[in-house]
Symmetry: C2
């Protein structure tokens, strides 16, 4: 490819058709366009690269980008009419950037299309380990993995023997947080939205306990049952009424790492949390964090987790949808909790 003549190829894309104000995203908010093409050469004099997208990641934070924000948001809004942007894994097919050469694999911010011209690859990381499945770099070895690692070790201040609760525990981040916590010698309980996911938590990921929150009429009592002595650490992925139930069950000096609040993203009026006064008497620290602040630890993280994968000391489950044309349904399904494990889209396998 690199030595070839200019090659122009077809380039299917998935666009965001329009901003959506509130509510769950629908497939019809996105559009597959099959008529586009791309020249597989970086522009003359640029420091760009062209990525052949192999795997695209569906992540909860993407909901926020589908809404127009008046003020600043922590990520840019999507641009209607343009391909959806997101994390992905790809192969470099042309490059004039000093950090990437043709044939390299990379993960990071790319587009929902077959090939992406990336003019400013500052959110792109070279993949150092091709002996593990490349798709892992959308999850356990990518953004969600680093989120779990930084969130658990840096924000939760965990100690051996502490009692850890994780919501949305079978998701890309939750399944890893639980395993990191088990490795440290914590008691770990997770919640998820189906019996299949609960089963996965207990049998595959080694959680001590797990429950299906949809079958629990009173989450405060449910948590009391699993944590008779209370919760030291809550890894927060859902927000709303779950957070309220957790606050009733937190122990003195407990910590809450707020990673996401997926239950709230689609609501026009988010649920109110009415018992925040408990953080005073219980001296709770609740801290929000974003993986963007922790990319400096990526190399250390990658080496550590690749090693854990090779030694089979960590398990990982993916939910792979085949074909770019199925990306919209995969993203919509994420917000409905349809996925089991990390949701991603395979655009091409090589």
């Amino acid at each position: 490819m690199g030595s070839a003549e200019d090659v122009v190829v077809a380039n299917k894309k998935v666009l965001l058709k329009h901003f959506i104000p509130a509510g769950a995203p629908k497939e019809t908010d996105m559009e597959l366009v099959t008529t586009g093409t791309i020249r597989l050469r970086v522009p003359e004099g640029s420091t760009a690269l062209i990525l052949k997208n192999l795997y695209l990641s569906c992540d909860p934070y993407m909901r926020s980008r589908m809404t127009k924000h008046e003020g600043a948001s922590y990520v840019d809004d999507f641009v209607p009419g343009e391909p959806i942007a997101g994390f992905g894994v790809g192969k470099v097919v042309d490059s004039s950037h000093p950090g990437f050469k043709i044939g390299d694999y990379a993960w990071g911010m790319t587009g929902w299309e077959e090939y992406s011209l990336i003019t400013d690859p500052k959110l792109l990381f070279k993949i150092h380990h091709t002996e593990v499945p490349l798709s892992y770099y959308t999850g356990i070895l990518g953004m969600p993995g680093l989120t779990a690692y930084a969130g658990f070790y840096d924000i939760c201040s965990p100690k051996k023997g502490e009692r850890v609760f994780i919501s949305a525990a079978s998701g890309a981040v939750g399944q890893l947080v639980g395993q990191f916590a088990k490795q440290l010698g914590c008691y770990v309980v997770g919640s998820a939205g189906s019996d299949e996911k609960v089963n996965l938590l207990k049998t595959k990921f080694g959680f001590d306990e797990a429950f299906n929150y949809k079958k629990e009429p009173d989450l405060t009592k449910t948590l009391k049952r699993y944590f008779p002595d209370g919760i030291d650490i809550y890894f927060e992925n859902v927000g709303g009424s779950m957070l309220e139930a957790v606050l009733y069950n937190m122990r003195l000096k407990g910590r809450i790492a707020a990673c996401g609040m997926i239950s709230q993203y689609n609501l026009e009026i988010p649920e109110g949390v009415r018992n925040l006064f408990l953080i005073i008497g219980k001296r709770i620290r609740m801290e929000g964090f974003l993986v963007f602040d922790h990319y400096g630890s990526y190399l250390e993280f990658e080496e550590k987790v690749v090693q854990l994968i090779k030694e089979e000391k960590i398990k990982y489950v993916e939910d792979i949808v085949e074909g770019l044309e199925n990306a919209p349904v995969a993203l919509v399904g994420l917000f409905e909790g349809r996925n089991v494990g990390k949701q991603l889209v395979a655009v091409a396998h090589e």
Copy 2:
């Protein structure tokens, strides 16, 4: 007194008549009893002391003690039929405790009565400076003062030039937090519930700005006006809708020290905070704290603040009600925001 024969004297008391479930406390929930007496001698073989109560403190946290708690609370419930317990300043009139001798002044946990037999003075501190008004040890030099000091310096991680917002800012804690923040070179804005209090904040305590929240129909916009670039530090004393408005206005990596949520204490159903998801994108740290964890810093604090008082580098305003019989109305008034400055009751002046 110490050398005298046994002396039995009258001992007026204010009792809590009954637990109250929710809602504002009323004067009729308390009762003045004038028929009691006390023997001004500690029991034989005890390590107790008898305190002549001079000043009694009215503090927001006392509301919680008027309700029966099923599980653990961070302070014990009051005992119906017994004198209300609270912080106060007194003179030791008898003692068999090695830490206190007759004639010493002390502050700490005592009872709403003229004399208190204190059998376990572990929450009683000797007063080292009688050259400042003794009543100050219910406020600037007592529990609220240490609360402000520990909360601001330990929990807020303040830096020079940061933008600080304080709610209930004219209260015992708020007025001090604002002055500590000004001393550090911060921009400081406070909210309060009357124009008189607002005036006090600006003219007496040196706040950069202050506003009467009761006159502001949209607190989110109000805060935007005073903090066009956002808030770095919020010292939280009120909770509810104010917290919601603050979250909309917090800057990246802002800190919220949750000291109290007085707006919520009397509500049957507390207000819900609906925008907690903002703590993720903004990486906000919200931390509850209690002064009880910080008594180890008391001596250092006392010396530092006594010095500031003597050099007139810190201002302090008290709202003193005369007479134990007026203690119930003072406490009720605190929850209605009637006090201007630190609310206390003078039982005796010497």
